[in-house]
């Protein structure tokens, strides 16, 4: 077990190095000259040359990359080219906080609806509720963000006037509900499906039958014997769904005017602000890898039958 964790921990920095190398190469050989963009109208040959020299852009690529990695290890992701001379860390910090809150709210909605629905449909297998809920969640799953967002805005913001159309007010303001719903709704289907199949698996196990035959009350069997074990695959899914959340966030932050990472990255992308993009890619990759590692470790704690080699 310990050896497994150590091996995974050793693999993580290599993974992050590869990710950063890919992003660095794409940025380096990609279109647009960041120096030209930064200077804009004041562009002259000498100024550009001086700026290149001071930033070390004339050095060999490998040297530039190694310097970047060394600085990144110390928490310095360089300067944004889009906002003159401001540190990426300083710019990205507040955006990360906003997006993290949004993701948390979305994840709460996804898990809070998906897991109970999956559990319920599994217990009701064979009745009309089962296919209805499963196909209903599939309908939501296929619904593009472009459709749910305007509809939710029309219903809850314009017709019912419960929340304002767009803007950001923090985790505890009601404004977070609509964007979180839009990001979270499509994920419900996956959680419902996985929870349903894993509950069905557990329901067929011998120890559940033993518990029933002993006369353990039905609700105790369901919650103590079945639900706890059936939740294990959900853990893996939480790790993976982090990645899916980001895709929705790009568009939802645009539509709702939320100052989060997704919108910031898109702006950076169109301004060729590669230090920002690299930082986002690295932070995203690191959080994904670490989340999956934590999930794997939790796995063996929740279910002692699982042993890693």
């Amino acid at each position: 077990m310990l050896a497994y964790i150590v091996r995974r921990l050793m693999w993580t920095p290599i993974l992050l190095l590869s990710v950063s190398a890919i992003v660095f190469t794409l940025g380096h050989y990609g279109p647009g000259d960041p120096v030209q963009i930064q200077l804009g109208q004041q562009y002259t040959e000498e100024r550009a040359e001086r700026l290149r020299e001071s930033r070390g852009l004339n050095d060999p690529v490998v040297q530039q990359y190694l310097r970047y990695v060394w600085n990144a290890l110390q928490g310095d992701f360089g300067e944004s080219t889009q906002f003159q001379g401001r540190d990426v860390t300083e710019l990205l910090g507040p955006k990360l906080k906003v997006s993290a809150q949004l993701f948390l709210a979305a994840a709460l909605i996804t898990i809070g609806f998906g897991v109970p629905l999956g559990f319920y449909t599994a217990l009701k297998q064979g009745s009309w509720q089962d296919p209805t809920i499963v196909s209903g969640s599939l309908v939501l799953d296929a619904m593009p963000v472009f459709l749910t967002a305007p509809f939710l805005i029309i219903i809850f913001a314009l017709k019912l006037d419960w929340v304002s159309v767009s803007g950001w007010g923090g985790f505890f303001s009601p404004q977070i509900i609509l964007p979180a719903l839009v990001i979270g709704l499509p994920g419900i289907a996956i959680f419902t499906r996985i929870m349903r199949s894993s509950t069905l698996d557990v329901l067929g196990q011998d120890y559940v039958r033993t518990a029933r035959s002993k006369g353990v009350p039905e609700h105790v069997v369901n919650y103590r014997h079945v639900a706890r074990i059936a939740l294990i695959p959900i853990l893996t899914l939480i790790g993976f769904s982090l990645s899916g959340l980001l895709g929705g966030a790009f568009i939802v932050e645009l539509i709702f005017g939320i100052p989060g990472v997704g919108r910031f990255t898109l702006d950076a992308l169109f301004a060729r602000d590669f230090p920002v993009i690299m930082a986002v890619a690295l932070i995203g990759a690191a959080s994904l890898v670490i989340a999956n590692l934590i999930v794997d470790i939790l796995y063996s704690i929740v279910d002692p039958r699982i042993r890693y080699q």
Binding site: L15, L16, S18, V19, I22, V23, L26, G27, Y29, G30, P31, S135, L138, V139, D141, A142, M143, P144, F146, L147, A149, P150, F151, I153, I154, L158, V165, A189, S197, L200, L242, S243, G244, L245, L246, G247, F250, I251, L254, I255, G257, T265, L266, L269, F270, I277, V280, A281, G284, A285, S287, L288, V289
Partner: protein, 471 residues
């Protein structure tokens, strides 16, 4: 092995061989379609002619569409059209030859159908003349309908078993037909459209549905119905290309190699996959699409210049044809497409690698490529089909996001994602649009929603069909 043994006992359409040494192989699908051996009866001839006609008509449609088929280089469609036409003619001629055999004549006479006036009457004669019910020099008398009979008589393959199970599911067949209709609409966009997708009409902008424009016009007077249909073509072709190249060719091959050889090969492939999977979802796709496009445009231009010497080129107009858009989006979505498929295939191959029949095949000296492709591959087809069908919806959704952000398919070429961002102005004015001109937003969204929804329903049904135990 035992299948082959049984098949030799059944009445074959092949030439009769001495008793007890009948080595005739079942003709297989290709043999049934374009083989020239054996006999077929009148009904079989008629069925094959009908099939050839269907293939011929679709070839003509492809040929016609190629004249201004925007997305792929029009040249590709000319080639595809030729291939389809050739196939239809081969089917008809081979059927005529086998029918001539049935009458008892020399098969070469069947080639008469190729000569225009005589061929028509000879074809009618072949439809009319009954063959002898006894064995002639070309084999036994054909019995029954004789269309694909040899395939079903050998034993039922896993694929056709799955197909028969799928056919009993009403929802699955409904979703399958919806998907086929959407793909047909996409492929036949040109004959189906009523206007040009890029023609503007500033006197008739922002019109609701009327007699001239079925779904009205957009803010610069382009016909929305036409644009939706061409946008469907973009999505349809991109899903096929991406899942075909990334998922099926790349993912399956790498998965089989990783699973079968194991060791270092496996480790390298898996590690590369983990790096790709470590990227947060759509970010890598956006990054690749944004950085690669100018390079690819440059390369394509160089290639056009180079191939245009002296001044005629089969590759002319590559950039105008939209080739670059397709290449960029496909390349951007590739890392998404192959990893999942690779992991699943690898797992399956790992489980199969030490199966008895594989070991037996290895002991007899079957070569490794043959072992992989004709012994292992047929047994993991189910997994591949299920994974590919699940990937189609996801790829369609990702393409939508790319085009919405303006880094996928570029205007004037229509795509559903761009139509959505066009009416909603990158998301800000969605509400006013949906209140005044809902059809402008709903038409593209409804199509893409239907496509993703039906693909995920079909994926579920296929999963049930191929893994009947896992439910």
């Amino acid at each position: 092995m035992s299948n082959r043994g049984v098949s030799t006992q059944l009445p074959r359409t092949g030439r009769d061989l001495p008793e007890g040494v009948d080595f005739a192989q079942p003709p297989g699908v290709i043999g049934e379609l374009i083989g020239t051996g054996g006999r077929i009866n009148r009904l079989g001839f008629f069925a094959r002619l009908t099939g050839a006609t269907v293939v011929f008509v679709s070839g003509l449609l492809l040929f016609d569409a190629s004249s201004s088929f925007s997305p792929l280089s029009s040249l590709a469609f000319v080639y595809l059209g030729f291939a389809v036409l050739f196939l239809s003619i081969s089917i008809a001629v081979s059927a005529a030859i086998r029918r001539t055999h049935d009458i008892g004549w020399n098969g070469a006479l069947g080639l008469l159908v190729l000569i225009p006036p005589i061929g028509f009457f000879f074809g009618l004669f072949l439809l009319y003349r009954r063959g002898p019910s006894t064995t002639n020099s070309h084999g036994r008398s054909p019995a029954g309908l004789n269309v694909g009979a040899s395939i079903s008589s050998i034993g039922i393959s896993p694929i056709s078993q799955a197909w028969q199970r799928l056919r009993r599911k009403k929802i699955a067949m409904a979703t399958l037909s919806i998907i086929l209709v959407i793909y047909a609409i996409g492929i036949l966009a040109k004959p189906l459209s009523t206007h040009s997708y890029s023609q503007t009409d500033l006197l008739h902008t922002q019109e609701g549905p009327n007699s001239g424009h079925v779904l009205g016009t957009d803010r610069i007077g382009r016909d929305i119905y036409t644009r939706v249909i061409w946008g469907v073509q973009t999505t349809v072709l991109l899903t096929i290309i991406t899942v075909g190249t990334g998922g099926i060719i790349l993912g399956v091959t790498l998965g089989m190699v990783a699973g079968y050889f194991g060791g270092k090969t496996d480790a390298v492939i898996m590690r590369i996959g983990e790096v790709v999977a470590a990227f947060p979802g759509i970010l890598l796709v956006i990054l690749i699409a944004a950085t690669l496009r100018p390079r690819i445009v440059g390369w394509t231009r160089d290639f056009e210049d180079w191939s245009n010497y002296p001044d005629w080129s089969p590759f002319g107009g590559l950039i105008e044809s939209g080739f670059v858009d397709y290449l960029v989006v496909t390349l951007a979505l590739l890392p998404f497409a192959w990893y999942g498929m690779m992991r699943l295939v690898r797992g399956q191959v790992l489980a199969l690698r030490n199966a008895d029949y594989i070991e037996a095949a290895r002991a007899v000296g079957v070569s490794t490529p043959r072992l992989l492709f004709s012994h292992i591959l047929p047994n993991i087809t189910g997994t591949i089909i299920v994974t590919a069908s699940a990937g189609m919806g996801a790829i369609a959704g990702s393409e939508l996001i790319l085009s919405f952000l303006g880094i996928g398919v570029q205007p004037p070429r229509p795509s559903l994602g761009f139509m959505i961002s066009d009416v909603s102005g990158r998301g800000t004015a969605v509400v006013s649009v949906i209140q005044q001109h809902p059809e402008q937003l709903l038409a593209p969204i409804a199509v893409i929603w239907l496509l993703i929804f039906t693909w995920s329903l079909l994926g579920d049904a296929l999963n049930d069909v191929f893994n009947p135990r896992a439910r």
